[in-house]
């Protein structure tokens, strides 16, 4: 790998390599739309782009081209890739949010998915006929028109932040492990509430979930038809949502950067390192902790709103402890307290789950169907219950254990005091 790092460190060859890999992999995906390896190569090439030491303007424009132009094109070829990319984007935002709570402030939140659920249900209830079940027609007509979606993006932030503060209040004085368990309990409480608030008044429709949820209007569709590109909503919506996710992720990264470098971020890191000393130095513990919870929660909240609009259907099953641990493993893998780390972790884990495991499953199934034999053992005899795509927990678990033992600082540890020099990231 040393030759790779050396190559990436020189602007000229690095650019060539990155551009070559990006274009080659895009070509590969276009030619073999159903090959998961081709798409994986495309993602790896974007990763190379990150590590390459090339001038910032170049890097930014290449990133814009690959994520903003190539990706949508690849997405139209095979909608599944767009789905993966959108999921990655959502989890990046979630990981960044949890990164604030766990990585910066050192508060182990095991119930993070609760804020995601709160955001999702906020839009789901009002953006679907659901609200009509407990608010009479005379007050308002539900579902709200698609345009309200943008209002609810902001609302999702606020509601989630409120829940974040609600969670923060009772746990202020708890020490680390108790805090973890209580946050876990909180996550479960939210899930059980979502599951059971179908009586006495039907708020969440219980385990049956809420559907159909309105999506934001395709305001640019008339524009496109005028220009001569006829595209059906089936094609446009995934692209629209992908773009939206990308935008929000950008905002989240920006906010994170600002927070990290501000006195708030430093206060959080001080709390993480030594609460008593921080307090002695004048850091207002209560306010900072609550702020951490609220900030982290708000990122999850806004993504929740987008998630419910994207899925058109949500139910409590999407917000279990497994998801919380998934996001935690992303932060741990990437590096606690590190923004690029959180992004890398989110991408890696999501890709692992959505593509690699699933690809393994499909491959195993095709081997089974073909009756391939390995060392005299006919794979068709493999138990039907064995399905690699289901073993997400094992992936998360092994990541967590291995990272803790061998590299607790993560793959891209936070560089506490380093700043960008020249044109490199």
């Amino acid at each position: 790998m040393a030759w790779l790092t050396a190559l990436l460190n020189q602007p000229g060859p690095a650019t060539a390599l990155v551009v070559a890999t990006i274009s080659l992999s895009s070509f590969a995906v276009a030619y073999y739309p159903r090959s998961l390896i081709a798409f994986l190569l495309f993602q790896v090439s974007i990763l190379l782009l990150y590590f390459a030491q090339i001038p910032r303007w170049l890097k930014r424009s290449l990133a814009f081209v690959s994520l903003g132009i190539l990706m949508p094109i690849l997405g139209t070829i095979n909608g599944y890739y767009l789905e993966v990319a959108t999921q990655v984007g959502i989890f990046v935002a979630l990981a960044l949010g949890l990164n604030i709570v766990v990585g910066l402030a050192g508060l182990l939140d095991l119930g993070y998915v609760a804020f995601y659920a709160v955001g999702a249900y906020t839009w789901a209830i009002f953006g679907s006929p659901q609200a009509g079940r407990f608010i009479s027609e005379s007050v308002a007509h539900f579902p709200l028109a698609g345009g309200w979606f943008f209002v609810f993006l902001v609302l999702g932030v606020i509601v989630a932040a409120i829940f974040g503060i609600l969670l923060g209040l009772p746990v202020l004085r708890l020490r680390g492990d108790y805090l973890a368990i209580v946050t876990l309990g909180f996550g479960e409480v939210i899930r059980v509430l979502a599951n059971n608030l179908d009586k006495p008044i039907n708020l969440t429709n219980g385990p049956q979930g809420i559907t159909p949820i309105s999506r934001p209007p395709l305001f640019f569709q008339p524009l496109l038809t005028a220009v001569g590109i006829p595209a059906s909503p089936t094609v446009l919506y995934p692209l629209y949502l992908y773009g939206l996710v990308l935008l929000i992720v950008g905002v989240v990264i920006l906010v994170n950067r600002r927070l990290e470098d501000s006195h708030i971020g430093r206060a959080w890191e001080a709390i993480r390192e030594d609460e008593v000393a921080a307090q002695a130095m004048g850091v207002p513990l209560v306010r900072m902790k609550l702020l951490a919870f609220a900030c982290g929660a708000s990122f999850a909240g806004v993504m929740g709103v987008i998630f419910s609009a994207k899925q058109v259907f949500i139910n409590p099953e999407s917000f279990t402890f497994l998801e919380s641990i998934g996001v935690l493993s992303m932060v741990i893998l990437g590096g606690m307290g590190s923004i690029p780390g959180a992004i890398l972790g989110a991408t890696a884990v999501t890709v692992l789950n959505l593509q690699v495991l699933k690809g393994l499953s499909l491959w195993l199934n095709s081997l089974r169907n073909a009756g391939v034999t390995i060392l005299g053992y006919n794979l068709a005899n493999l138990p039907t219950q064995l399905e690699p795509a289901k073993y997400e927990r094992m992936i998360f678990g092994i990541i967590l254990v291995l990272m803790m033992i061998y590299r607790p600082q993560g793959i891209l540890p936070a560089r506490r005091r380093s700043r960008e020099l020249g044109g490199s990231k």
């Binding site: 650019t15 274009s23 909608g79």
Partner: protein, 399 residues
């Protein structure tokens, strides 16, 4: 100067990439393969009937793909595991509609999964033929692409209540599993039972999978003649088992969610002698299904589960419709709209009877059975006795 040459490099590379892509897109069109997808639980505690649906479809494709192959297309099965969870079903559905070769979906097993997933299929007008979903809402939404070959819960609940009345039941305690399916069929049973004069002592829902004490203790205290469980066998069997262990002497009754050999496997002695209503039943109740049962056993080394025959018939209908649509399209790959329309028009004489769809996708006449469990041995599930058989038309759409 250096900057300039890099600019050039970038520009050229990107131009190449952008030029190549459209070319590749046009070149790489898939041709010649038609796929039929199945969505059913293949893992977890409801996998028995889910597997049955997949295998029934597989057998049908193998036996009936001849005519389509003659027209130049290969036919393949693409099974999906919806894990009996709505969000997984929806995620799979999104995946399914992006694969342009898939022209039909056979599934689901759970109504609660089918309803949101069918909203996704609707986006692409992909036809769904359900072998097992009984909730009225499936077809009451009047979607052109959703059909089923089995009966409905509003009728099934009534059949159950009538049967309970015939057993001289005076009081019943109704429990459901809080899913779209279970809660709805339990409600139908309860409403019909009340109309027939049976006292409904309680109506409770639970998602619990192991510890039913909290729900059984009040039930036992009220001492009903009958306990009706609206839900799936994976939950019903332990519920019945623990009920007997708690000393509850009431009779048990339930809907087609209990129709699976695993009910006997899990419930053991507790379920022997109980009754259930179903829209499928063991394969032995269908006179035309003997060949199917033999072929199934030979190929898959086990007896067909309930709903496997229904899946076979659904697939047969799909294949017939696809064949007709190909011919209509002049030998080319038909559109999903065309296949949907063709399915709705198809008349088929299958293993489970003559199937013809009404204007909302229900079969014009559907079969309902009341069955009696004879043994705790799961291998003997197909020996369950048929107590009653009814053929009832689907209720029309309420305006």
């Amino acid at each position: 100067m250096k900057r300039y040459s890099m600019y050039a490099k970038v520009g050229i590379a990107l131009a190449v990439a952008l030029l190549l892509i459209p070319a590749a897109v046009l070149a790489g069109q898939a041709k010649g393969t038609i796929k039929i997808a199945t969505q059913s639980p293949l893992s977890g505690d409801q996998s028995a009937p889910g597997e049955g649906i997949k295998l029934g479809t597989q057998l049908a494709i193998e036996q009936l793909k001849g005519p389509i192959e003659k027209l130049g297309f290969k036919v393949e099965l693409v099974p999906f595991d919806d894990q009996a969870k709505p969000d997984v079903g929806v995620a799979n559905a999104r995946n399914i509609i992006t694969d342009k070769d898939i022209l039909a979906v056979i599934g689901h097993y759970n109504s609660g999964v089918a309803i949101p997933s069918s909203e996704v299929y609707k986006e692409a007008m992909l036809v769904e033929i359900s072998p097992a979903n009984t909730n009225p809402l499936i077809t009451d939404r009047n979607l052109l692409n959703v059909n089923r070959v089995c009966g409905r819960d509003d009728v099934q609940g009534a059949v159950g209540a009538e049967f309970a009345k015939s057993l001289k039941i005076k009081s019943a305690y109704v429990i459901h599993d809080k899913t779209t399916y279970g809660q709805s069929v339990a409600e139908f049973f309860r409403d019909n039972a009340k109309k027939l004069g049976i006292e409904v002592l309680g109506f409770d829902g639970t998602e619990e999978k192991s510890n039913f004490d909290p729900i059984l203790t009040p039930a036992k205290a009220k001492n009903p003649d009958l306990i009706y469980f609206g839900g799936i066998y994976s939950q019903g069997a332990p519920l019945f088992k623990q009920a007997r262990e708690k000393g509850i002497k009431a009779k048990f009754l339930g809907p087609d969610g209990l129709d699976s050999s695993d009910l006997a496997k899990i419930g053991g002695k507790a379920v022997v002698g109980m009754n259930y209503t179903t829209v499928a039943g063991p394969v032995t109740v269908y006179p035309k299904a003997k060949e199917f049962a033999k072929a199934y056993k030979e190929k898959f080394k086990k007896d067909p589960e309930p709903f496997a025959a229904q899946a076979y018939d659904s697939t047969a209908i799909a294949l017939k419709a696809i064949e007709a649509a190909i011919k209509d399209a002049g030998g080319k790959m038909p559109s999903r709209d065309a296949v949907s329309a063709a399915v709705r028009k198809t008349k088929h004489s299958g293993l489970t009877g003559n199937i013809e769809f009404d204007e909302k996708g229900d079969p014009k006449k559907a079969l309902y059975f009341v069955m009696h469990v004879v043994s705790e041995d799961p291998a003997k599930w197909n020996d369950n006795k048929e107590v009653k058989r009814l053929e009832i038309a689907a209720p029309p759409l309420k305006k």
